[in-house]
Symmetry: C5
Subunit: 272 residues, 5 copies
């Protein structure tokens, strides 16, 4: 575990990751509510808001982002390169996410500020992913870039286990976070289990490891900010968010509020 | 994504790829309508037309092509080396296309101007192909040669998904194109979904990425040119074509017309 | 087999390994009886007792441990880096434990004093684990660090063999220990088969190889110390223990007693 | 495709390959008709006939051959090292032939004049064999030794395809030969489909690639020579033969005749 | 095939290999008839008899053996390092024997005089073992150490083939021996098929390759010596033996007799 407080992707110890891998993971359907969101340049621009401490991209878009920065002179957010990913097109026996970028390429060619890796613990492919992650983590250490684990336990081991209610089962979410600590991640991105108590339980498993909550279902801005605040209050370190930001007509408004909650220690009332 | 406008395989920003991998993919049966088309030298000669910005070959024919150029003194079209491919002989569990040439060999020994790779998203082997492509793409970057993805979603994930009508489903074609962007291709070659509107939808997913439409079913030259023109009109960048050119007695005639439509901004009427 | 008497993880030829990989192997549930045991720093502190000759950690906690030592100035116990491990989340066809750390990283970056590897002989994945272990053992030799094999025969080959009563069958335990000798481990960690005679049988199979007994079921401190003493008496070399130590309010008391039995040749009565 | 006319394994542009891999492929049973043929030295001696332009051996016999040459002072035929092969002992799911020799070893240690590789297109393992062949072909290029492909389409893809009558189906044989061209072989060894017309069809698919016919069923010497002549007449480049030569009491007689037909342009009548 | 007559593991052209891998292959049960045989040091001592030209060990015991030699000053027999092996604990789909030692480690670190490899032709894993053996054989050549193949055809391909009566079928044994020749071994260790005639058949398949017979069922010393003699008489090169030697109270007596039969050309009557 690295000291993330000096990292390019944190600010006052916390993070707001703007994730834009929907074109890989779900395809064009995700951009339908706001067609211009299919154009990466739109999201690159959104990422310039001060609240964004990292823009998470797959390799192709990361190449494009670096070109865009150079061509436009815009600075944009620090680059969090997602090292693996998958499409929703094939029928897999169970969850798996192959590497589509090497750490070497991410750092040497794309000057990534951090590395992201999705771990599907609970899948029959979990052991293979451990091996993939081992390599990724150690190579990232070599280059001294931090590693964010998208820790998403799922698959047959979760679905078919009567002790678990599903991917948001507090026990499952906490076990996933703990694996981030045990395997050597510097930050974990976890599903919000639904209430502060269960997030606190998760925090109890990871000592000083940085945690960010992952999106969640559609709700009002106030309810959303409240969830973010609730995690911060019990040692959470922020948020990873995608469509809820880049598919707004005025993403700046919500980003302003998130900035207050995540980086300035404000309550929801103060932020609204 | 590289700036392809300076590339050896584009002209005025667009491309016409003459593809000749039928002997690999389908075998002798494809040459029956015009037996001399089985001889690569016939196609090498056709490729000399100014309209052809790339000749796509498998390794063995590429070696032969370089010898032919040297022995005859002919210049021929730039070489687009197809890195993977397969025969139609075995019964596969699902679509897969193994590498038959390394990027190193393609560039160092055969001086390839570009690299081609077929991606079968939707196959149960998709994840393995991502890994193969990762390596190919990064090695191509090292040598600074562009990568063209034959992006052909197919296989059980497409066939057994009731939401999709098949390989030409506009959603499927657009998702395939988007994967080219996300994974770091410099150009995608996609099935023509059948009408301009669906091609435009595809274009909306790939920002500035170059796109070429792939052949399609037999129709009149006018109808064919119209399809090509329709894609160009909505940001398409040209065409990949095979038998429809090299199995004509006078391929130069159609190539003349395609040249006007693809590189000179002419309408079909102007080109005919 | 190395001469372990000079090793950092032995004292007077014996060892007491404090194992803390429960967050990997079983998840948060293992920490419930004593919530603060979920915090690695609690266990790091416990490991400072003189009786502890090695603290066994997975990579992430080992990184954390090295930071903790540096930041607090505490010395702590020698580091035994567990090279492989697994979570209990997926449904595996049979037992397997993937590598989550390379020996190179363990030694060069984490300055590990010893390497630990779990071998599941009897699993359908045993042969694959032999290959993994071969590499681990030879790399450890290169760096001159000793290798401890968690030798735990289990899986279908054990469960479905009517000749065996299970994982603690004396024949199974002894065969597992012997594999440690044959494959080149420097110490084996074996399940206590339940009585001194069966441990003696195990010892007869491993010549001078170091052996440590592994935990066992809950029982009184006296009974526990008696088991430890019984193995020592017949050439055993100590103990690997986890929750039975770090989940006590006052672990020092039992550690004091274990120290007498394991390193000072005391009887249980003398130690109590 | 290399210019094979300068190759060590051709003479006047054609080849006669004496193949001796029966001990690998079929075992002792193949030597029963003439027990002394089980002794490689017998075949080494036969290979000294001027008509033999290559002796095809597996690694072990190739090592033995080089020793024999050194010890006896005999020159023998150029060495064509078979890089892969298999035994008939296991029940495979479908045809596959693993590498038993690296190209590096073949060339650096055994000074091979050419490399041989068996390709089973049509097998479910075809794609894996493409990958194996890719490596073999590119390494052979590095050492500048020619590659002969034993192109034998077979397996479930052929047997279960109602369009094909079997391994000697003219379409299948021609497709196999074409794959030799596409994948970068310098010579293909194909089953004789049974008549000159079908061999001509095969030749039409491979441009200038060298071809040799493979053995065939037992028939009179005249009929056999006629088949060889028929292929030569339509651009064939010779023959690969095994037992029909080395299991004769006087192999020299038939070799004399083959020499006339293959290298001297004689008719069968002239050769008899 | 190397000239083995100069090898460290032959004497007068023949070999007596004392094999001690029973702890790996069968576990403690094999040592029950004579408990002290579980201690490798007992066998190390036995190996000092002049008749023993090689002691075959797995890696862990080989490390121990080298230490024992150094510590005791005993010379012992030349070391034949078994590179692969397996335990009898798991249920495998078919026979396989994974590598537990690299050739590099065997030679560079353990100064092995020869390498041993078990080949299970006839298993569905045969092709994989060919690949493993290829690497082993070529690496051994690099270090100039001879390779002994334990050539034991077995598995489904043998059991389910009605033409074969089992592992000792003379045809099967001879095919196995031939594979040793074809794949580049320097000596093969084969099951004794039961009579001299069948061993002679085996010899007819391997030219000058060294052969040693493998143990066989319990019988009188005279009958055992007769079998050994019968193989020697028809070009056999000796014996590999284990428990029949090291589990005797006075192994020297039988070793004296074997010495006469194997290395001094004596008849059984002369040796008794």
């Amino acid at each position: 575990m690295k000291d993330m407080d000096d990292s390019a992707i944190t600010r006052n110890g916390n993070s707001l990751i703007l994730a834009y891998d929907h074109g890989t993971e779900h395809g064009p359907v995700d951009f339908e509510p706001m067609p211009k969101s299919a154009d990466p340049r739109h999201v690159f621009e959104v990422s310039q808001h001060d609240a964004v401490t990292a823009l998470a991209l797959q390799k192709g878009n990361a190449e494009y982002y670096r070109n865009w920065q150079e061509n436009t002179g815009n600075e944009g957010a620090p680059l969090l390169l997602k090292i693996n990913g998958n499409s929703s097109l094939p029928k897999r026996e169970d969850y798996y996410s192959p590497k589509q970028c090497s750490v070497q390429y991410a750092v040497e060619e794309l000057d990534a500020d951090a590395i992201g890796y999705t771990m599907y613990a609970g899948s029959i492919h979990e052991d293979e992913m451990w091996k993939d992650f081992r390599e990724v983590q150690e190579e990232a250490r070599k280059y001294d870039v931090p590693v964010v684990m998208w820790s998403y336990p799922r698959g047959k081991g979760i679905e078919e286990n009567p002790d678990y209610s599903g991917q948001k089962d507090p026990e499952v979410v906490a076990y996933g976070a703990r694996l981030g600590l045990e395997l050597g991640a510097d930050m974990v991105k976890c599903k919000y289990p639904g209430n502060q108590e269960d997030w606190e339980r998760l925090e109890s498993q990871v000592a000083e490891l940085k945690t960010v909550m992952s999106g969640g279902s559609k709700r009002s801005d106030r309810a959303f900010l409240q969830d973010v605040h609730d995690t911060i209050e019990v040692s959470g370190n922020g948020l990873a968010v995608g469509r809820n930001i880049f598919q707004r007509e005025e993403p700046g408004e919500l980003l302003d509020k998130l900035e207050k909650v995540i980086f300035e220690g404000k309550t929801v009332d103060e932020a609204m």
